[in-house]
């Protein structure tokens, strides 16, 4: 609709604008995608090829790199840790925030507005500033170097953003359904579990996607709250790969590609939801 279709005469300036428009777009496409593309292609090369012809396609696509990445580094254990942490933390986060969102969005109670502000204000705080208290709390609870420690921490960190997404979604569900269900004898819990939760699924899925990506990619608190293989996540593993692989760049790149796969896969299926969820929070429709 905003296209300037019916201009018969295109001025020289118009041509310049048109060309520079595409130059900007293609240049930025290169900036945004080249590093990832280069990494992915390099992960299929031999080390010799990476050094001698960094910009060519591999002579032979070395799938073996991925096999050796998994076996050399013990990556599979870190993968398992990351999956457990990201999935369980996300489920826990969605469970508690959907309960609270239900109360905020569907019920009236004293200090409701205060509670909502309290539960979402955390998005403004740089979580990194809490290094000392997180470390001491987790240590005192005896959760240092455990998956549970990371799970609790991540699910708590993500409460403000999830509360925002899930409660605004629940607010938009029409009240009538619930009212008639209540007349039919639906209890408080059933109104949550049988009516509002299922109807809020799109919002809950969006919040869960954000949570999963956050948990999978988180680095600082994984670094601070774990110390051994039994609890470390893939993000820490990548960091230590550098010393493990030493000169095996192909193996290192293959390992990094493997750690990116889960979030890229989620993005491939959910990009519209992720982008609209992201902008709904920041832009007033």
């Amino acid at each position: 609709m905003k296209k300037n279709k019916n201009l018969n005469y295109i001025s020289p300036l118009g041509y310049v604008a048109k060309i520079s428009k595409w130059v900007v777009l293609l240049t930025y496409t290169l900036i945004a995608t080249f590093p990832l593309l280069w990494l992915t292609i390099s992960s299929f090369k031999t080390n010799f090829e990476i050094e001698t012809s960094p910009f060519s396609l591999p002579q032979k696509w070395m799938v073996e790199n991925f096999v050796s990445a998994l076996s050399v580094s013990g990556l599979s254990r870190y993968f398992l840790n990351s999956i457990i942490v990201a999935v369980v933390a996300t489920i826990l986060n969605l469970f508690v925030t959907s309960l609270a969102s239900f109360a905020v969005a569907r019920e009236r109670f004293p200090l409701r507005g205060v509670f909502f502000t309290f539960s979402t204000a955390g998005v403004l705080i740089p979580i990194i500033a809490f290094m000392v208290p997180y470390y001491t709390v987790i240590t005192r609870l005896g959760l240092y170097d455990s998956l549970i420690g990371l799970i609790v921490t991540y699910s708590a960190i993500n409460i403000p953003i999830s509360m925002f997404i899930v409660s605004s979604f629940m607010t938009s569900i029409p009240k009538e359904l619930e009212d008639s269900a209540e007349i039919d004898g639906c209890s408080f819990w059933q109104r949550y579990s049988k009516i509002v939760f299922p109807l809020a699924k799109p919002g809950i899925v969006t919040a869960g996607t954000f949570s999963f990506i956050y948990c999978w990619n988180e680095f600082i608190y994984a670094l601070l709250l774990t110390s051994s293989r039994s609890a470390r996540t893939v993000q820490l593993a990548i960091r230590f790969f550098t010393s493990q692989f030493r000169t095996d760049y192909a193996g290192l790149y293959a390992a990094i590609v493997l750690t990116m796969l889960p979030t890229v896969a989620v993005y491939m299926f959910m990009h519209d939801k992720i982008i609209s969820g992201m902008t709904a929070g920041a832009v007033k429709g």
């Binding site: 496409t29 590093p35 910009f55 290094m131 960190i157 902008t279 920041a282 832009v283 007033k284």
Partner: protein
């Protein structure tokens, strides 16, 4: 309405039960930490011995520490680059895509892609690309005949900080998406009317788009600056603060203090990071007007 109040009274215990888990977690992971670092910032504590109150000594210590001052300066450089590089570039791209150029959705999806990839993976990737011996950047310069420009990007004083900051620009897509959503929510009737009045593309952008997305631009700018002030991973992994302590940021300074068991100083750094964030972002909103903040749209 009497019906409602009795119903609410009956429900109140369920409501309390429903908001309890979130409340407990927020108290433990948001409220307690704020008070904790506030108190700890006035103490000397190594995590084992009982803590002792030392007044404002930590604050004096950090402000007289050149590494801390470098860190604040670097954070402000990061913030400046966010405001002067990320936001203008994101706006430019968003305005082009908002005109629904061919394949705009694909571009949007591609540009946002790096944002779902971890800072660690991208930092390791950049580290490999900046590598002085067989990094792609130097190879590329050699191929196009500019071998003299090839250098140890992350190891030299002059290029280390710019190299780290540039590596972060791959995340611009985040702000682009926010600005794009703002620009696309402008009613197309405004553009049609202006076209009848003979406005060209530049005039439309200048007099319709930019004023309409002012609030969104402030939001994106505030977010970009806020993120710049909480940097950690990129610096930690690319340079670890080197060479010669030229590149540290507050997050890294805090981490080093923690690693050295100076919990009081680390907490002080945390408090100052939060205060700096509040000062800079409210300052921005003072100057550029209110943002369409996330929490505004509820209720």
């Amino acid at each position: 309405m009497a019906h409602y109040s009795t119903r609410n009274k009956k429900n109140l215990k369920y409501i309390i039960l429903f908001i309890m888990p979130v409340t407990v977690l927020l108290l433990a992971f948001y409220v307690y930490p704020i008070f904790s670092i506030l108190v700890l910032s006035f103490t000397k504590w190594n995590g084992i011995e009982p803590l002792s109150f030392i007044g404002i000594k930590n604050f004096i210590e950090v402000f007289t520490d050149t590494v801390f001052r470098t860190s604040i300066k670097n954070n402000l450089i990061w913030a400046f680059s966010a405001a002067m590089l990320q936001i203008p570039l994101a706006t430019l791209i968003a305005l082009i895509l908002a005109r629904e150029v061919k394949g705009w959705k694909t571009f949007r999806t591609l540009f946002f892609l790096p944002n779902v990839i971890s800072l660690v993976a991208l930092a390791m990737l950049w580290k490999a690309m900046y590598n002085p011996e067989f990094g792609v950047l130097n190879s590329f310069l050699t191929i196009i005949g500019l071998e003299s420009l090839a250098r140890n990007w992350l190891g030299e004083l002059a290029t280390a900080l710019p190299a780290v900051i540039i590596s972060y620009q791959i995340y611009i897509g985040y702000f682009m998406v926010i600005i794009l959503a703002g620009a696309m929510s402008i009613p197309s009737s405004l553009y049609e009317a202006s076209k009848i009045d003979g406005a060209n593309v530049w005039q439309q952008e200048r007099f319709i788009t930019i004023p309409s997305i002012r609030g969104v631009l402030v939001t994106a700018g505030t977010l970009a600056v806020a993120y710049a002030l909480r940097q950690f991973e990129t610096t930690f992994l690319l340079t670890a603060g080197g060479p010669a302590n030229r590149t540290p940021v507050l997050g890294l300074y805090m981490y080093r203090q923690m690693a050295g068991f100076h919990y009081g100083v680390a907490a002080t750094t945390g408090i100052l990071m939060i205060v700096l964030g509040i000062l800079v972002t409210t300052g921005l909103q003072r100057v550029f007007g209110k943002s369409d903040a996330a929490s505004d749209s509820f209720q």
